[in-house]
């Protein structure tokens, strides 16, 4: 760590900090500037920079290493590509995952899956266990929902991603889903992350609404440290003072994470904005910024959805968006599902 002393730090204060750093196992370099002393703590030491920061005479302390290792580009310079059969996430193709917020019925799952497949999605999304902020709201269909989702995915040649909310659900959800999703509210549920490190399925970790990029990468580190190397990240909006949109969709996080880490980054413009009419512009923006994939809520009848209806697209809106994305992707040297199935007449 690097310790910057206050301008008027006394020699005994400086000596006390040096002693503390050496006690932590560091070698200490002392640099004397015009106005102040800087101490560089190097070598194999180990200690909490914040404890040094509250010592007398200390102005600031900075770590010199990042706290994540396995998630960093230094550890693995090339991109991680997660392959689920022929669907490759993190490669040249921008992968689109789409579907309803929750499984509600056989018909709704089937109609939604058919619609997203037709438009070019490769992965079906949909929840069976829903984390709801009210104990009185619809909480998901549970295992029957998982079964419906997987059956529809299989019928349409789609892969399935769905959320796992707690340790006891992992085994069950992994029987049905190709990718296990960790929700934003569970991003720092370390017990859950540790168990997912032992799973064999790919894991997608959504960014907590107030998580820094570093904290998000640390959550990935938990899973990676457990031995599961198939981790992808998902930006879904952060909480700011602006309330017009439900969250502020932090598109700049996409290139930032891609520089710091080798893991694929997916963007979720549905939760990122919370309003159906803002999903298309933000989906286009995310692809233009370099996202490796998108996850979008599409419902066959959004106005009667049991959850997230306001941010779910109509199938026809989703089709138009996919056509726009096919123009944008090549601008950054990527492709997007070049051959959609022949369309029939979907109308809003």
């Amino acid at each position: 760590m690097v310790v910057i002393m206050k301008e008027r730090a006394s020699e005994p204060q400086i000596q006390a900090v040096i002693a503390q750093l050496m006690d932590m196992g560091y070698d200490v370099h002392r640099s004397t500037g015009a106005n102040r002393i800087v101490l560089g703590a190097v070598g194999g030491g180990h200690g909490d920079p914040q404890i040094v920061e509250v010592q007398d005479g200390v102005q600031e302390v900075h770590r010199i290493s990042v706290p994540y290792k396995l998630a960093s580009r230094t550890f693995r310079p090339e991109n991680t590509v997660i392959a689920i059969d022929d669907v490759r996430i993190g490669g040249d193709e921008v992968i689109v995952m789409a579907g309803p917020c929750s499984a509600e019925s056989e018909e709704q799952v089937e109609a939604s899956a058919a619609a997203v497949k037709r438009a070019g999605a490769k992965v079906l999304r949909g929840g069976a266990f829903k984390p709801r902020s009210s104990p009185y709201s619809f909480q998901g269909l549970g295992e029957p929902g998982l079964r419906m989702l997987r059956a529809a995915a299989d019928r349409h040649g789609l892969k399935l991603i769905t959320e796992v909310m707690e340790i006891s659900q992992i085994e069950l959800v992994a029987k049905y889903a190709h990718v296990l999703q960790v929700g934003a509210r569970n991003m720092q549920n370390y017990s859950l992350l540790r168990e997912l490190g032992k799973a064999r399925a790919p894991v997608m970790i959504k960014r907590g609404i107030s998580a820094t990029i570093e904290e998000w990468l640390m959550s990935a580190e938990y899973v990676l440290a457990g031995g599961n190397t198939q981790v992808m990240l998902c930006e879904r909006g952060i909480r700011t003072f602006e309330t017009y949109t439900r969250n502020t969709f932090d598109i700049s996080a996409i290139p930032v994470v891609q520089q710091l880490s080798h893991l694929p980054v997916i963007a979720d413009p549905s939760h990122g904005t919370g309003r159906r009419d803002k999903v298309a512009p933000m989906a286009r923006a995310a692809v233009a910024a370099g996202a490796d994939g998108l996850i979008i809520e599409v419902h066959c009848d959004p106005d009667h959805a049991k959850s997230d209806g306001a941010q779910s697209m109509f199938p026809a809106q989703f089709e138009r968006l996919m056509a726009e994305l096919r123009i944008i992707a090549p601008a950054i040297g990527r492709s997007l599902c070049v051959e959609p199935v022949a369309r029939r007449g979907w109308n809003r």
Copy 2:
């Protein structure tokens, strides 16, 4: 709900919204103002205001009821007082909980417990299962830590509060602790909250670093709805743009929650500021603002603490703080542990 139409909303748009509201089961009142139409949806309807908000011609939609029921002052006008033997949280006395971040050893737990008791604390705090943002950090001693904490609490006539991180730990932790703490990162771990609703021990729910006051009360609602009426809330700082302090300690949340809810509100100035030298002024401020209690990290040797050392007070600092608090509490008609044990010479 109240639906405010746009100034130029057409009659067909208005009719479509009325139809949708009636379809949701509402009676609709139409008010015609100078420039725009307002629709009041009353009666026994049920539907998602956000779905109405994205309809054509709609400007804004406002709920007319709050989403929490059991946590509200409307449900229970008088204050909830949580009694653990003779320690009454939410009554006239301001209750102070103090102790180390984590149990580290028999000696450290004993020395810290003795110190906080001597200064006038009524409850011992300390963790045995620690949620750490790095998988490589100290994760707590587990059950042996719980045993040390309870033994020290009993020796000194203190009650014990400690964190429970996952469902599978509830039974174990409840064997040792008088109060089960839900950490800020688990505030929206609804599976955990639902199980705690079945527990018989009091539960303290820390506010998530980006949780609104309403979301925080909804987390309490989960526990209350499960049948556990002994819930208290803990303000511990929110995440803002300001980085000098680790968090921004939102003292105004204390009177706001006390107005909206009957549940006791505890303040945690240690996590609220992250710096030992700012704990005392913020503890004083919280009591002056009306907090029902404080939870403060005190360690017998903070500079060698395994976690949170920078924000842990020295015993002598804590004693001085308690003396200041005894002066402040009467300004708002409260008391604070009037008869501390005779002091011996603690020095920093």
Copy 3:
């Protein structure tokens, strides 16, 4: 306004609020729901909703009209297009403004102007009066800087945009610039905005780093209310908890403002991110989201710039970006400077 009473509001409390609303000149509609009373205040009244909100028995108050009039789409449904000779801002073409943060010397201004023209920019940006957070930093060249900027713009067939910091500078700056820029820190300098309402030149108002979209539109309203209809808005990043980027570039504000207002929206990815390597992805994202234009810092020698060097692009980076943008714009039915001047070999 709509007044939602508390569930247990008493009849005298309700009557007191009704009397207050009538005293403010409103007609009052009373709706009785299952659990609570809602009062609709309509007609030609006038009063502060916040005063009603603090009355006994009141739960919430909502305005039913937006506070800006001239800036709203209701007032003017069609897009405002600002024409400066043949440069049309707010039309089909995405207009790019580019150039150095500050004018530093004849050579630097000329080299930068030549570079941005060659890549396809239509407007030269550059400052002569700089608002610097330190009184000890370079504050700009003043009028000689303005003269250099205008001469270079004229030589290359570019228009000029530059910042005006105070009322006494308006006349001078308007002699040289085609567009007057109001900086983010002056967004709520109402005295300045009022004077700019009397100017004849177009005005670009940057969003304050913590301004809500409504506050930003209110600043435009100040200029419009003064009689100057040529106003454009510029998103340049908001302050959030995330510190990796200098600001969080709020791309979702672009479609939101375009829905609420008829004014053109420009995006500034240079200030929006603060890092040269993040400007290109965010510029692409802004165009994909529908921005009417971009304003980008480009410097002939960024590593020696007197201000904002870290976020200034090299000319070669800017050329590559313009090529990418030409692919993206058609995806949303727009164009971008189809015929750039023949390129010569710029290298970084």
Copy 4:
């Protein structure tokens, strides 16, 4: 500055950064740690750390000096006390400034001044030029308002503080007011701050709603650098995601600023909360945290105030608050106006 290189930075990258630092005039110390290189740039160099940060191979750059000089405790270790005749701001006594948001009429000013004097205030607050977010709102009475305020202050033996919004008003306002206030929205109006550096009256700088503590101190630096040493700071709430209160009153900023700077810190709980019923707890909290003074909106008839009525206290509320503050101040070794004038019966 301290430059931390990336773990895999190449030797040519390191050499390029060293050359750049030397080019900026620094001496460079190179420290080789286990995994990465740290470069310490010391001596009389001068350059923008952000330019170094975007070079290839650089991970992070940290300044080693704070950007403010005259405002820092290093420059002046003892507290600044601002004396206006016998009113000493920054000394042992907590000074209370109170009065209406705006001067509205002779009667309103007189009644409000009498009320705040009776309760123990030492300074009258009140505005004549109001920065309003809407061009259609009441903008203040101008010079007649100043005249009323000063006359009432003189009649009651109070000092006067009022806001100055632009350079052209300074001379006029200084004729009437003892203290010139810079509003939160003008905190970074550097032209205004520079002129106030030439004024002879004390200046109070309110913190911008999204200003960091460092930016706030830099605004003080502008005034101090101009030669005016009588500067005080005023915390008035910051903008966060929480919307229940109008702002989040950042009480922790009080002890933080007192540690970094020698300037007095005043707290404004009226703007800090925006709701009359939260002003008293936050005023108590600010004094308990160590504020040197308070500035509070009190109006003789808040429900009919032309501005800020919802956050203005009734005279009787203010009297009760002053009584509570007299108990709290001694807890931290301070006093608060020990001999209020004999009270007569104020009722709400």
